[in-house]
């Protein structure tokens, strides 16, 4: 039996504005998402902000009803049989919220252990196990409001695992977490998957997805644009080279000029303080495009220029940019 089955899932949000004549606005957050996750698999859902990742997770974990389509968790329909689904899943989301911060970690875990039906006799042992797993032993009696973001995130994971769920939904768990805490988090997630827990992870961090996921679905504009193993996704851009240009003060106009350079297949810019890293994807033979690329950036201060092999991040950017341009990416077989 499959751990997760999503079949043509759609979700439309309706909002009303204005009074007394209200205007109804409909937003299609998810537009027909289909995928399957096998038991014990670590499945990644990657996509830009507003792509539909969280909405998809919330439909699968019973917090939202699908507008149409069906989804099952270990055979239980998420819309018709939510309690059976809830018994088998854990839900962890990123950020500061979702905990009683004026209470201790122990009080939080005790309360949620009751809500998740963990037997009174098992609670003490299970909570101690989890505190140990997430490295909070010794700090469990402190109020959560004094915890760092990383500690809160680890407590979230402990909460989500109290009832030993078969499926764990992790919605951007490493958001705002420092690199060391993020590495520990990745190790915990990998250990869980190795122990047989099915994990559905959404993240913005490509390295995280590349390191952890057995398969990845890239979602953009509410649709799955590509689905496959990290290697198969990378192979989408294997015919490309990547130029990385350090620059200062690149504006949208210059980025557009870059996109129009013949041979350029994709452009993105990332701010790192005053510095910007402009990533230019080209066809094979990036060296020949050095000149035209630098000409398009005329007028801004340029630092180091390097060319490299494409990474998963480049594949992701290519997929998302093509989606934004209206060309659906071909789904890659796993």
């Amino acid at each position: 039996m499959l751990a997760i089955e999503a079949d043509a899932l759609r979700r439309t949000y309706t909002s009303r504005t204005g009074w007394p004549k209200s205007r109804r606005t409909e937003t299609d957050a998810v537009r027909g998402v289909t995928f399957e996750v096998a038991p014990g698999e670590l499945f990644g859902l990657l996509g830009p902000n507003g792509a539909g990742k969280t909405t998809t997770i919330k439909m699968l974990n019973t917090l939202l009803l699908p507008t149409s389509g069906t989804a099952r968790v270990f055979g239980h329909d998420v819309a018709r049989d939510p309690v059976a689904v809830r018994r088998r899943i854990g839900y962890v989301f990123g950020g500061d919220r979702g905990l009683y911060d004026r209470l201790s970690a122990l009080d939080n875990l005790r309360y949620f252990a009751e809500l998740y039906g963990v037997g009174a006799r098992d609670q003490k042992r299970r909570i101690a196990e989890l505190l140990d797993l997430v490295g909070l032993t010794g700090r469990e009696k402190e109020r959560v409001e004094g915890y760092s973001r990383g500690m809160r995130q680890r407590l979230h994971i402990a909460r989500g695992l109290l009832h030993r769920p078969d499926v764990l939904f992790l919605d951007e768990p490493s958001i705002g977490v420092d690199p060391v805490a993020a590495r520990d988090l990745r190790r915990t997630v990998a250990d869980l998957a190795a122990a047989g827990t099915t994990v559905l992870l959404t993240t913005h961090y490509m390295a995280e997805a590349d390191e952890l996921c057995d398969r990845i679905a890239v979602i953009a504009g509410g649709r799955i644009r590509a689905l496959g193993t990290p290697d198969s996704l990378k192979s989408l851009v294997k015919e490309r080279d990547v130029l990385e240009v350090e620059a200062y003060g690149v504006d949208e106009e210059r980025l557009d000029r870059l996109r129009r350079v013949p041979g350029v297949r994709g452009v993105s810019a990332e701010d790192r303080g005053a510095l910007q890293i402009v990533t230019v994807q080209t066809g094979r033979g990036a060296a020949e495009l050095h000149g035209p690329v630098l000409a398009a950036l005329d007028g801004v201060r340029i630092g180091r220029v390097t060319s490299r092999e494409p990474s998963l991040e480049d594949a992701y950017i290519a997929i998302v940019e093509e989606a934004a341009g209206g060309t659906p990416q071909e789904v890659v077989p796993a």
Partner: protein, 263 residues
């Protein structure tokens, strides 16, 4: 992991839930300040009103009435505020996604607000004694000690029904505010419902707060305590049943309307 059957674990679930939420609510300096001060303001106003009305013999009734108003305020804003607070904290989703029926998740929150509210009764009576020399001449002191917790429980059940509706509303506080004064007025918490227009009486009779207040006032100044107390229990149970029945639908509607989260 061994999970216990729901029926067997309900008492412990409620106990742990009430303890958790009472601890949580009692650790907010702002909430404590309001919880401490508001009943004392009510008590002061009530005593002066009764004195001005030439009713100095009923000052204990005024103090007790102010205490009931304090309890109602705590339940109303506690239940509405609690659901809204869970939403702000981001815990409403983690509560809903737990495999425990939503009614059993909300019941301890509502009961916790009544526990906090019970303080109001003690505070207003003590305030009256210390500041205004209100004599503690209860007509039925023992029945008073029974009537107050039963009344509090009846109010709690009303709070549960309110909490059920507040799950659906992103701005639940907006609904809580206009319900404050009309309910304590219609329930006769401070002044008897008999002084209100006749057309309001059916509404008063339908509120468990009316019967709970009648029982508490009877225990204070004389009259039948048991009958209104039983009526409060019966109505409270009815409200609780209604809450359980509507919560299943409310949860489904909240999942359809996406109101469990703030965004």
């Amino acid at each position: 992991m061994s999970t216990s059957p729901l029926v067997k674990r309900v008492p412990r679930l409620v106990l742990v839930g009430v303890r958790t939420h009472v601890s949580y609510m009692s650790r907010s300096p702002l909430e404590i300040t309001f919880a401490v001060l508001v009943p004392l303001v009510y008590a002061t106003l009530a005593v002066y009103l009764f004195r001005a009305a030439g009713d100095p013999d009923r000052l204990l009734t005024a103090s007790v009435g102010a205490g009931l108003m304090g309890i109602w305020g705590s339940v109303l804003f506690g239940s509405g505020g609690a659901v809204q607070n869970q939403r702000w904290l981001g815990t409403l989703e983690t509560l809903v996604v737990a495999p425990t029926p939503l009614a059993l998740v909300l019941l301890p929150i509502t009961l916790a607000t009544t526990v906090i509210g019970t303080y109001a009764m003690g505070a207003t009576v003590l305030w009256g004694v210390l500041l205004f020399d209100v004599p503690l001449d209860f007509a039925h002191p023992l029945l008073f000690l029974v009537a107050v917790p039963v009344c509090v429980l009846a109010l709690g059940m009303m709070g549960l029904l309110l909490a059920a509706t507040f799950v659906l509303l992103r701005n639940a506080n907006a609904l809580a505010n206009p319900l404050d004064t009309p309910v304590w007025l219609l329930s006769g918490l401070l002044v008897p419902v008999t002084v209100l227009p006749a057309w309001t009486h059916p509404v008063s009779w339908a509120l468990p707060t009316t019967w709970g207040a009648r029982a508490v006032h009877a225990a204070t100044s004389g009259g039948d305590v048991v009958a209104p107390l039983l009526a409060a229990v019966a109505l409270g149970a009815g409200y609780a049943l209604a809450a359980v029945l509507v919560l299943g639908r409310v949860e489904r509607r909240a999942r359809a309307a996406a109101t469990l989260a703030l965004t």
